[in-house]
Amino acid sequence: MTKPSEIASPKLPFRQRWIPHPSLTGVMILLWVAMANNFSPGGWLLGTCLGLAIPLLTQSIWDTTPKIASYGNVLIYALVVLWDVLVANIEVAWLILFESPRDLRPQWITVPLDLRSREGIAVLAGTVTLTPGTVSCDLSADGRSMLVHCLDARDIEEIIRRIKTRYEARLLRIFR
């Protein structure tokens, strides 16, 4: 699917030449086995083939490869987010069900960003959207601050602080 020219030139060491994104390869294998629900050796074999093939086919779209610093932090972050999502849902559910719309104080807020990496910002935006009463709506043209909409903004500072400390800080540690 990629132009021959797009494939990394052969002087690269073997690993980078044939397994440009090991993490992606791993994910692919796992996903395949999970999706096919086939934990037999055959399943793993096929998964490995795909895990090797697909990154090669699609490597041309990763012109900037995200640098993951520590996978541990990724795990932690994922758990944090999952928990927050749970909470967020309950909160929002409460708001929707038992608050009369009049009492809501919807509000736009601007969150300045220290993150630089595109992936980082993307993940942050996603997190903000999935977590309590906030939806990330836009970035400033230079990508240095994020426009967030709050469903019920009782304390703006608190929200900004949460976003920055709870998520952005962690992401800063993940994407350098």
Partner: protein, 131 residues
């Protein structure tokens, strides 16, 4: 299956249903577009998530094998929901908002990207903004 598992599954089903329902209720109840945007993006993801977990557990007990492939759907939703939400938000901003009036300042020497192109105008290819 054991009553405990059955209870868990039942609970999960109820939770899932409730959240999905809540999302839709919010969609109807909330006053304006942006607030409506909140409810589905959250509630539904969890609703579907809960149901998926329910089905995984139950199938594990019926068929005796773990069918985690259903988790893929949740993965998809978690990946796509924010994008969809932000697309909708941008559409709303673009159609119904005015950068000066009803939006806060960016605290930057530039506007929100919905109102100002990040990429230099002469960039012929639509490739993304490099912040």
């Amino acid at each position: 299956m054991t009553p405990w598992v059955e209870f868990v599954v039942a609970a999960l089903i109820v939770i899932g249903t409730v959240f999905a329902l809540v999302g839709s209720i919010g969609l109807v109840k909330l006053p304006d577009v942006m607030t409506r945007l909140h409810s589905p993006t959250k509630a539904t993801t969890l609703g579907v998530g809960a149901l998926l977990v329910a089905s995984i557990i139950s199938f594990y007990h019926w068929k005796g094998k773990l069918a985690i492939n259903e988790l893929l759907i949740t993965l998809f939703l978690f990946l796509t929901a924010p994008v969809a939400a932000q697309f909708l938000a941008r559409a709303y901003l673009h159609l119904h908002c005015d950068s000066a009036g009803d939006l806060p300042a960016t605290n930057r020497p530039c506007q929100w990207s919905t109102f100002q192109c990040a990429c230099p105008p002469d960039a012929e290819d639509g490739s993304a903004a490099k912040p």
